[in-house]
Symmetry: C2
DNA sequence: TATTGTTATACTCTATAACTATA
DNA sequence: TATAGTTATAGAGTATAACAATA
């Protein structure tokens, strides 16, 4: 390795994440969805969630949810249904549920391929390590 | 966890990486450097590297190196010295080397803190797992 | 013929501020 | 008083195309 940064965990984390994102973006392209769109469908599938709810789960700000949801609505994948006179529930349409099934097939295979690249001895330790770093960040 | 994505390694990887980036950005702020600036100084410290060389190591395109180097040059941290009539070596100034020493102090502590958050049993497996994912992406 | 440095440009992602209306 | 949805906007970060000059 000529790269002096390769042994820094933080740097390796960034590079691994961006490599992963690039590959998943490619795999989702046939569905005409970006990663963020697919994530939104997965979270919204829980049902009765508002735009703000989904944003909190995915760490996306309210203001940035608007164009994302507009796009999915224009694609016929979600609808907005009033919960009361202030809040809207984001509901998957039949087309949205069908697209989500395709998303799950692709992401399921992707996560499997991803883990397969990690040598056996390290594999089981990977997700717990990531979750420790992710959770610690909530402080 | 209410988040249905939390158990997906790809998603956890993305969230851990962005949490890490946010924290490192904060820690470097007192040096008036962004992560990308600090990375550049570290790589350029090898000496006799052109802008294109550094870009290849860090996966930054030639065109995007220009404003980054201009900024570091304006800050008095690097200079451009002709290698031949076409290429320029990026050289750290004395101020650049001093700033780099501060960068190393901060990033060294940061990487240490990062690893300390990973439970003992998983810690040693983390970097090898990341490198496996990163390298596999070069295919 | 390939590479370097550069300019210009566009697109995505994200962050902030502000506003209206409702809980 | 806090929250939901929205609009507008600004700043990063990144990608592509093109060009002149040199290896």
């Amino acid at each position: 390795m000529t790269d002096p940064l390769a042994r820094l965990p933080g740097y390796a984390l960034r590079r691994a994440a961006s490599a992963m994102m690039a590959e998943l973006t490619e795999r989702l392209a046939p569905l005409a969805l970006r990663i963020i769109d697919a994530s939104l469908l997965m979270v919204a599938d829980a049902g009765s969630m508002t735009s703000s709810d989904i944003g909190r789960v995915l760490d996306i700000q309210r203001a940035n949810m608007v164009p994302l949801l507009n796009r999915l609505e224009a694609a016929g994948l979600i609808t907005r249904q009033p919960l009361d006179r202030k809040s809207m529930a984001i509901i998957l349409t039949p087309a949205g549920r069908a697209r989500l099934a395709e998303v799950r097939a692709i992401t399921g295979q992707f996560e499997e391929d991803l883990m397969a690249r990690i040598p056996d001895a390290h594999r089981a330790h990977f997700l717990p390590a990531l979750q420790a770093l992710w959770s610690a960040a909530d402080d």
